[in-house]
């Protein structure tokens, strides 16, 4: 019987999450529980249009929920993680750590 070789962490990476800006959105939304669009834009250094496109990708994948509302006369958009988004973020971080460990092990040999 042959023992299957352990899967390389790179093969498990999710293309939707494994991207600098989208990983940033997920991290900020996770830590903040709910985050406002303008805060995200400022922290990530993006234009409104660029951020909207990334949010659309995450929303289509079911990883974030976007909620639009008003505070007085001012429109505000809030972003929060779904349960799937929380799981995806946790898995991505685990894989990144595995990848780093693997690179360090290989470099040490």
């Amino acid at each position: 019987m042959t023992v299957p070789e352990p899967q390389h962490p790179v093969t498990g990476l999710d293309d939707v999450v494994h991207q600098r800006v989208r990983l940033g959105i997920l991290t900020i939304a996770h830590e903040a529980r709910r985050v406002e669009f303008v805060y995200l834009r400022t922290q990530l250094g993006l234009t409104a249009g660029n951020l909207s496109q990334h949010l659309a990708v995450l929303e289509t994948a079911g990883l974030v929920e976007v909620e639009k509302g008003y505070e007085g006369k001012r429109g505000r958009t809030w972003v929060s993680l779904t349960a799937a988004g929380n799981t995806a973020l946790a898995e991505e971080i685990t894989r990144l750590k595995q990848l780093i460990a693997r690179v360090e092990t290989t470099a040490g040999q």
Partner: protein
Amino acid sequence: MTSDTVPAAGDPRRLLAEVRGFAHRVRLTQRVTWLPLLVLALVTFGAIPAYMLGRPVTRDCYSVEGGEICKIWEPAADLYWLVALVVAYVVIARVYLRVARGRGVDARVLPYVLTGVAFSVVMFVLIGVGAGVWFVRDAEDLLHPSTSIEVLFRLLTPVGGIGIALLVLAWLERNVALLLFTLGYLAVILVPINFGWGVHWGGHLQGVTALIIVGGVLLLGSAGFGLAQRLRRAR
């Protein structure tokens, strides 16, 4: 649309560092540490008139070798602490969330507020039923309590509860500065200092000195955290 996927081996480390940086910045944005310290300082100072105007009620007294043991209940002060602390935690929760949301993020303040309210209610019940004897083997031990029992009794007070709830807030916010402040605050409660004030005031009013010191520590903490936050946001 940018799509900086990560091809290089060195990039996972950079990505993880960025993730940690984002998380840290959100936590800094969420903090309104000066607020609970200010509100709780005011509540502590507010307890002073309750102690000065109220009178302690003793009941269920019985003699033991070397003295007498009674259940002591200070209706005005004990009711003040219960109502004032519950109201204070509700105010803290509402204002904390409002300030954090004004900055564009939500805040994890609910476990802190629930701990504070729960501790206040439990303290009120314990004092009301005279639960001191539950913590010692023989009632006579209350006349000359051991150090551990003295520490426990100082901790199981409204001002001790404020410190325990602040430990929860420090953990929720991963706030090392608040943790250090709270440990200092708890040290002030556990090792009471009175600078000789109030020694001639007599009876239960000697406790007022401790309230002035504890309230002063909270007020100074609030000013310090408020100033630090203002300086950080100005940068």
